[in-house]
Symmetry: C2
Subunit: 484 residues, 2 copies
């Protein structure tokens, strides 16, 4: 069992966010580093967060027509090659299987970096008629991208868990609606489950998914001023369908090419969750995904132990019956102070403190994890009041994240203003942009900020007529930011 | 859309079970063959079966203290080597990653064939005190074993989906109970969810999991007389804990070595499910795992269409509200006969036929998939009666499988009797056995049957005093059978 000295977070979120993040992940037992650089071990408390995300999304996907499937984790090199008519390809990032047992393989196998090239040929085989469309497949799996960067659990790992959806449609509008629907579901996940408001938009032309017509994204602003690409949904146009021959016979017996989409959300969402809400005491979780929503810490002396534990157990049972995930920490060998610290570290949203006074007064002392707010409640309507507390905690977390977002969208009308504003404040800087990658490069080379998003036309008016960088005609408003 | 000619199963389960199986799997759209030999694509109808299995087991695992985690899919060669003190190792069956991007790796990475060697070192790191025990981890993942055999979907594939549980305990009895608990849960899955009775026992010494003290198994007898190893649960003793240093400080402050277990069940269970119940019309599924439990096929002429569809829709809505998974097949372009065939092929347990007569008489015609039994029921208590029908279908499937099992356990007291009985009937042959692999080999070389199981001591008395093969003293009763 860990000693007390191991419990505390020693790094500061404000001053050293990178080390702080790594410390929270390890001490809250979410993940550990694997022996190979770039890989992590996801521990039960970390995996439970992924299960919560998965259960929510998977339910929404199924309600809206997506079906889960499973394609092989290996893709023959020739299949990846086939994509190259339309995309640059994943070659530099692919882990290659070259031997099976003692024998060298005739053809190398890629460990999937994403599955378009193995799924598309089967879509082509399965789709014959317009009646087979839309075809909506999804899989929950792990993929490997061999990027040589420093490991950051859930943010940057060579292997990561995600879902990848792949759909085919008879019409452009059908595929476009699909892309939007999945982006909506990603937004819902962040806003209604993870307590993180997001911005929606599309990626600039040069930053689209290879081969895609349009890449859309939800972006979440972290407290350190960097943005996280929270999930992407692509309208692939007909390029993949053309390359892989996904065609169908329409109602008039004409042969037509399908329109396809793909969409993915990874465990980076766990990274955004940790980074957004947690603090120098450790993990902070919204009740929606917390393994324990409420922890009860009984406080006793020898002579009060029995009554206190009795009272606490009854409350625990009542909450559990009501479907609230509650943990009664009745360990003998730890004092209440230790327990407070431990459950704060693990991010339990609400703590109930129960001592002899609470028993005598038929009350409970309720403490909110995010801000330490302490409330005394009647024992009588404990279920009702706890539900309210959990909602309040969620609202507090969301409000704090929303405030951070709103305060950190600024405008700029010149290159220097973009650089200066991001340099000083971080966050998003909106600027009129010509759409040319060169103008982004000028910013990127100076401060590693890029165009992370272009708002959908219907959402925002252009904020200027000439590009803030080059002075040519502005095509759109761009959001510049540093990105994870 | 598939033409009618594609719907029918052309092979015979009785006369050509291998081809029949492959045809059912493909035509019922459970799986397709991947471009690389040994790999399959699991289609939504196949994956839904895996999800049903997973949901059941995962719930039971969690109720009994197991926590899900996720370990990397790659294992450094040196980690696999470390196991070799205790086990022979998986070398001949390992797929090796040798390159990341354009670069050769310094150390080869094995695509996990199973995860003991990557999980055990982390157990060693996480376990410090007796308070950290038992530690019960489980993961749902895919593993790769490079075996060069003919592909048989769900039975023999190089990559397969499974769960692998790994636990550490303070005492031998704790680990032994764990092993038994998981075997119980596997039995429950087969008997209460898949409608397949199983036998329980342990594997002979020479066929244990490498390094294990005891390997236990549930065995399911297929209609073709071969047995399927349905899931295995191992008591690993202290060998892995010793090799990987999984030790802990006990209540007396003494350092002790843990006892470990592992247990796994794969998508082979889907194979056993298909093989057991399906027939020459296609897939047959128990209602527990069927995506559609009830299909309603309306039968109309132009003048009755509206009333028939109205009546059928109301029934569909009522069943759905009651939580029954129902599909109303109101397609215009297909006639009822076609629909009957299609849903039979897909294994829907119960069909409701609704035509003008049913509407007039306020009745429904109910057809059971497995045997075509046809019943007329009142419209009034449709939910109640459908629940009964679904239970009946389950009971019919179970009873048929049980009959097959009971009729195919025979006894033998000599080598020739073992050979003759299995040669003639298949199934299990019980014989007294000295425990020596050589005696098994004599049988194996003749008819490819082996000792698939030794019943637990408490379950069965030895049936003879001398080994049926060599005549030496019998140590136990062995079940000989051909095996998938």
């Amino acid at each position: 069992m860990s000693g007390e000295q191991e419990l505390g977070i020693t790094e500061s979120k404000e001053h050293n966010p990178g080390d702080w993040y790594a410390e929270v992940v390890q001490k809250a037992k979410l993940a550990d580093y694997a022996p190979m650089g770039g890989f992590i071990v996801t521990r039960p408390r970390g995996y439970a967060l992924w299960e919560a995300i998965k259960d929510n999304l998977d339910g929404w996907f199924k309600e809206t027509g997506a079906q889960n499937a499973y394609f092989p984790m290996f893709i023959p090199e020739g299949y990846l090659e086939r994509e190259k008519d339309i995309v640059e390809g994943f070659d530099p990032e692919v882990a290659w299987v070259t031997h099976g047992g003692y024998d060298e393989l005739e053809e190398r196998l890629a460990v999937r970096p994403t599955s378009e090239s193995i799924i598309a040929p089967f879509m082509a085989k399965w789709v014959r008629s317009y009646r087979d469309l839309p075809l909506r497949l999804n899989q929950w799996n792990s993929v490997v991208r061999w990027e040589a960067t420093e490991t950051k659990p859930f943010f940057r790992t060579k292997e990561f868990l995600w879902q990848e959806g792949h759909t085919a449609h008879a019409s452009e509008s059908g595929a476009w609606e699909e892309m939007t629907l999945r982006l909506d579901q990603y937004q819902r996940l962040y806003e209604d489950v993870l307590a993180i408001p997001v911005l929606r938009g599309r990626k600039p032309e040069h930053d689209k998914f290879p081969g895609a017509d349009t890449t859309t994204t939800v972006e979440a602003l972290m407290p350190d001023g960097k943005t996280v690409q929270g999930g992407t949904s692509h309208y692939l146009g007909q390029s993949f369908a053309d390359a892989f021959d996904i065609s169908f016979v329409d109602e008039d017996e004409d042969e037509r090419i399908a329109h396809t989409t793909s969409w993915g959300l990874s465990w980076r969402s766990i990274g955004a969750l940790i980074m957004t809400h947690s603090d120098d005491q450790g993990l902070v979780l919204p009740p929606t995904v917390a393994q324990e929503q409420v922890v009860i810490v009984p406080i006793w002396q020898e002579d009060t132990k029995e009554t206190v534990l009795q009272y606490a157990s009854e409350i625990a049972a009542e909450l559990q019956d009501a479907g609230i995930r509650v943990k009664l920490d009745d360990r003998d060998e730890r004092n209440p102070g230790f327990k407070f610290n431990e459950w704060e570290l693990k991010g339990v949203p609400v703590r109930l403190e129960i001592g002899p006074n609470e028993v005598d007064d038929e009350e409970v002392t309720v403490v909110h994890r995010p801000d330490g707010e302490t409330i005394t409640d009647d024992r009588g309507d404990i279920v009702e009041s706890l539900r309210d507390h959990l909602d309040e905690v969620y609202a507090k977390l969301y409000a704090a994240a929303e405030e951070n977002l709103e305060e950190n969208i600024r405008e700029a009308s010149s290159r220097n203003e973009i650089l200066g504003t991001i340099g000083q404040h971080g966050g998003y800087v909106k600027a009129p942009w010509c759409g040319d990658e060169a103008c982004e490069t000028e910013v990127k080379e100076q401060i590693h900020a890029e165009v992370v998003m272009v708002p959908f036309d219907e959402d925002e008016e252009p904020i200027g007529e000439t590009c803030a960088v080059c002075g040519d005609e502005a095509e759109t408003t761009a959001y510049f930011a540093k990105s994870y």
